[in-house]
């Protein structure tokens, strides 16, 4: 937003400074990558001037999922693994709301993995930050689906036996994937640009954030932190671009067109590189809520009218059969009549 505009809004009392979005004091560990993600989100709210009452941060359970408490918008801190279906429900009939989800590697890739796959397929308009610290933090050091093979944890004391799940490849493989990106928590500008790109994308923006856990996996990202050239920055006019100073530090960059799915998959699946940036973006994938939108609102009178039409389909108008010819006939004590008549309730009986 340009400065003049900011100034104008501030004078009109409409401008929301960062403080308007600050919630309770963050209680993550010192050095936790979640702090920088919160900072990026506060900046996003301010820069996009999101109306606080029209913004909903949704999360599941885990360290990452504490996020909504630290923002002064609407927030929904729900169940472990279930952030995405809740967010879908919120978004389905409320296109006026901005929905941003914080989830973790346990929340998203393990207990909520089924929802994750389908959320990508629904492609509803929301921004999803998957804080991936490759370990369970809140429950104190258990291996997660993205933990490196061999990781010694409380549930894998002799080392995790399985190879980790690759969230990028997984996301890129689901039909209707429309925005897949990866960001490191320790490069604030890049992190912010990627989140902002995701936010502005119309559709389901999945951003895997490499997130440091100083308590349980302090050394995990050391190679990347110590040697900036180990990070491959993906740049493109349709993705993120580096300013001069960043470009000097992160000299290993690569022009990647986010429209190129094959290249995106190659980059994501190469174990020797850590790509950072927008891997894939497709603005053409329709959003589920748009496919299901009816394009009009319904008044009670309209509901009543439509309901009456439905009732018509099932309505039976009993026809008058009074004074039937049978009244003139004698009722035969036929053996066929069986013993039906003992079952007649008080109001029943023969209408003779």
């Amino acid at each position: 937003m340009d400065l003049i505009d900011q100034f104008r809004r501030a004078n009109a009392g409409q401008f929301h400074p960062i403080e308007d979005y600050q919630g309770r004091d963050a209680r993550w560990c010192v050095g936790c990558g979640d702090h920088t993600i919160l900072t990026a989100l506060l900046r996003l709210c301010r820069d996009e001037q999101l109306p606080p009452e029209k913004t909903v941060f949704v999360s599941g359970i885990g360290c990452s999922s504490r996020m909504p408490h630290y923002l002064k918008t609407y927030g929904f801190h729900g169940l472990h693994g279930r952030a995405l279906p809740v967010a879908e429900g919120i978004a389905i009939r409320r296109p006026d709301l901005h929905v941003i989800v914080s989830t973790g590697d346990g929340d998203c890739c393990s207990i909520g993995a089924g929802h994750w796959i389908h959320a990508i397929r629904y492609n509803m308009n929301m921004t999803v930050l998957m804080h991936d610290n490759c370990v369970y933090g809140l429950t104190k050091m258990q291996a997660s689906p993205t933990s490196p093979q061999g990781l010694k944890s409380n549930t894998s004391p002799r080392g995790a036996v399985l190879a980790p799940l690759n969230p990028l490849i997984t996301a890129l493989s689901v039909s209707n994937a429309s925005f897949v990106a990866q960001a490191p928590d320790w490069i604030p500008d890049i992190l912010y640009s990627i989140i902002a790109q995701g936010f502005r994308h119309k559709g389901f923006s999945f951003i895997r954030i490499l997130q440091r856990c100083p308590n349980f996996l302090p050394d995990l990202f050391d190679p990347l932190l110590q040697d900036p050239t180990k990070t491959l920055v993906l740049t493109h006019p349709n993705g993120i671009q580096l300013d001069e100073s960043s470009a000097r530090i992160y000299r290993n960059h690569f022009a990647h067109d986010p429209a190129d799915m094959n290249r995106a998959r190659e980059l994501a699946s190469n174990p020797d590189i850590t790509p950072v940036g927008v891997l894939y973006r497709n603005e053409q994938v329709p959003c589920y809520e748009d496919l299901r939108r009816l394009g009009q609102s319904f008044t009670p009178a309209m509901i009543g009218h439509a309901l009456d039409k439905e009732f018509d389909k099932f309505t039976v108008q009993p026809q008058c059969h009074e004074g039937s010819a049978l009244d003139d006939l004698e009722l035969e004590a036929c053996a066929l009549s069986g013993s039906n008549d003992r079952t007649v309730p008080a109001s029943g009986g023969l209408h003779r």
């Binding site: 009452e53 359970i61 408490h69 809740v86 389905i92 009816l294 026809q319 049978l326 079952t343």
Partner: protein, 633 residues
């Protein structure tokens, strides 16, 4: 008005065969799956309703989609009980059965009255497979030996005179046959056929009309009996749907806009109809990736403004429990429909049982108070959805509506509802929140508080499934936790104060009171009427509100010497060797009422997968009145 035979203009009895007038009859039409017995039976029921009869239909469905032909387990069709009064259940044994082969009949012989009429397709007698022909003859002989009045009907032979592929047309032939037997107006049946096939092709309508008339004529020429069931005096327009369609119509009428579901038997047909019709009132059916996601999706939609509904059956309900706890904790309105089936586990998907009452009341994590309602009729299925939405929004909690496989597939006409605008949910509240208000400003007396819906300026807060205080701040303090639990609990207390005592069926005092809930209502009340007619001081009470329970119940219960709960779930039988009053597992409602009222009461039920019959309840009550504690099923 004189009833004319529409084929030849003669009155019914001009041939000298006098129709027998009856107050009711139970008819079954059964065939292999795919032969159309259900369509025939449902059309017959609709014609009966149009003739002014009381009607109740019960589906007879095999568990498999394509069971083997000519098998006992493959019987598919309907039971129709029609009467000269309002019919509230499927009754006991059938009076007349039409069977398309002898095998589907074999599995249902115990459901037919001694001496009952059986109309059996006779083409099997000449089947080229000697085994089939033999089987047919053996069954026919057995029917005659056992005293049934078996009539062979050349369905295939007669149908082939009208259409080339008789297997597809027999059902309309049988409809005509039944129309004639019950003296129904063939013109109404003709309209049914036109309505049913009209969309497809004129040719189809023509051939089906021919079949219909052929059946009518064949019965006229070959059957020496005819019945007349006088109309029930119903003159108001009636809606004829099954319980699941009634649920769906109720959802549409309630103003709910989102239904999130996952396919499960026997609940899904409600969503089928809703998928077709919901958009006409601005609604949306979301088929989620699983049951829990469906529940969470509904919770999200509710949280964002308007109460949503999720529909399921027992196994799905178990999966939703996690999310239901969240809705209780965070006080999010939600309507959950559980169309119960046999359990536990996958159990009996297509069968009738009432086994989810306690899990509906007490499932999920910790103390999660929610409202539980039970539909007792098709009409209830409609109106309870409107009530459930209102309660959910007023009290900020999940409302569980229990139906079951019996109501799901049964049809019973009910008075056509007149739409009222107040049924519909109000528009989403987007007004600013007043200064200083908190998201859980619990009223000290009722536990109620105002909802802060996203979009309301000044209401920003983070809803959480963690323990929280009035400000929605995570709070683990001992006082804060108790305060929240107390207020969530008070909401049920407050609701209970608004509930009137249910009406006692029969006298207000007596020797035995039968208490029930859900789809057993018709059968229980019919049993009570029979017992009463037999000079016994028996009444019954049917509960719609299970949690909280209606007010005034204790006063009713104490007016009777004995109380017996009747429901479709298991209670240990006292004649099992190891069972005694210290270890007996009571039926679901039995547990609830004993705990609530400290009144000794017996319980009785069946878990045979079928609707409980009035005769079985009558027998159980007689045993109980015979001062025996021994039970027989």
């Amino acid at each position: 008005m004189t009833q004319h035979n529409p084929l030849n203009g003669r009155a019914f009895s001009s041939d000298g065969k006098h129709p027998v007038e009856l107050s009711e009859h139970i008819v079954e039409v059964i065939s292999d799956s795919g032969e159309g017995a259900q369509k025939c039976a449902q059309s017959f029921a609709t014609v009966a309703a149009k003739m002014g009869n009381g009607v109740w239909t019960v589906e007879i469905i095999p568990a498999e989609i394509q069971p083997p032909a000519r098998s006992m387990a493959g019987a598919s069709g309907n039971r129709i009980r029609l009467g000269s009064h309002r019919v509230t259940n499927g009754g006991d044994q059938a009076d007349l059965v039409v069977a398309f082969n002898e095998q589907v009949l074999l599995g249902r012989l115990h459901e037919i009255k001694p001496g009952g009429i059986i109309l059996l397709e006779n083409k099997w007698a000449g089947d080229p497979d000697a085994g089939i022909a033999q089987s047919y003859l053996e069954v026919l002989q057995r029917l005659q030996r056992d005293g049934f009045r078996a009539h062979e009907v050349p369905m295939e032979e007669e149908c082939r005179k009208c259409v080339p592929d008789a297997r597809r047309g027999k059902n309309m032939f049988v409809l005509g046959l039944l129309n004639r037997i019950y003296g129904q107006d063939l013109e109404i049946s003709r309209q049914q056929v036109v309505q049913a096939f009209g969309k497809k092709a004129e040719k189809l309508v023509d051939s089906n009309l021919k079949l219909l008339e052929a059946g009518y004529r064949w019965a006229e020429d070959h059957l020496d009996f005819q019945f007349f069931i006088p109309p029930a005096g119903i003159t108001e327009p009636q809606i004829v749907v099954n319980g699941n369609t009634a649920l769906a119509l109720g959802i549409m009428a309630s103003g709910m806009e989102v239904c999130a579901m996952y396919p499960i038997t026997p609940a899904t047909s409600a969503s089928h109809y809703l998928s077709e019709a919901f958009e006409k009132v601005g609604g949306l059916v979301h088929q989620a990736e699983d049951e829990l996601a469906a529940c969470c999706f509904a919770i999200g939609a509710s949280y964002a403004g308007k109460c949503a509904v999720t529909i399921t059956s027992g196994p799905g309900y178990a999966l939703k429990q996690e999310a239901l706890g969240l809705a209780c904790m965070a006080e999010i309105p939600l309507v959950v429909v559980n169309v119960q089936r046999g359990g536990p586990s996958t159990g009996q998907p297509t069968k009738v049982e009432q086994g989810d009452l306690l899990s509906a009341c007490f499932g999920s994590q910790g103390d999660a108070p929610k409202v539980v309602l039970a539909a007792a009729s098709i009409e209830d299925c409609f109106h309870l959805m409107i009530a459930a939405r209102k309660i959910a929004e007023t009290y900020r909690l999940p409302v569980v509506v229990l139906s079951d496989a019996n109501l799901a597939t049964a049809q019973q006409p009910f008075p056509r509802p007149k739409f009222q605008e107040e049924w519909v949910a109000p528009p989403i509240d987007q007004s600013p929140v007043s200064e200083g208000a908190a998201p859980y400003d619990w009223d000290a007396r009722t536990g109620l508080s105002e909802r802060f819906i996203p979009g309301r300026p000044g209401g920003m807060h983070t809803l959480t499934g963690l323990a929280h205080d009035r400000n929605s701040c995570v709070a683990y303090g001992p006082e804060a936790n108790e305060e929240a639990i107390r207020h969530r609990s008070l909401k049920l207390v407050a609701l209970q104060h608004s509930l009137k005592p249910p009406r006692v069926h029969g006298a207000a005092q007596g020797e035995l009171l039968i208490v029930g809930w859900g789809s057993t209502r018709g059968a229980i009340e019919e049993a009570v009427d029979r017992l009463h007619a037999g000079g016994l001081a028996v009444s019954s009470l049917h509960l719609t509100f299970i949690q909280p329970l209606h007010g005034g119940l204790k006063e009713i219960l104490t007016k009777f010497t004995k109380v017996m709960v009747v429901e479709g779930n298991w209670s240990d039988r006292l004649d099992d060797e190891l069972v005694n009053e210290e270890n007996r597992r009571y039926s679901d409602l039995g547990w609830l009422l004993r705990a609530r009222f400290l009144i000794d009461m017996d319980c009785w039920g069946e878990v045979k997968g079928q609707p409980i019959k009035p005769g079985a309840i009558e027998a159980a009550a007689r045993l109980r009145l015979g001062k025996t504690d021994r039970q027989t099923a």
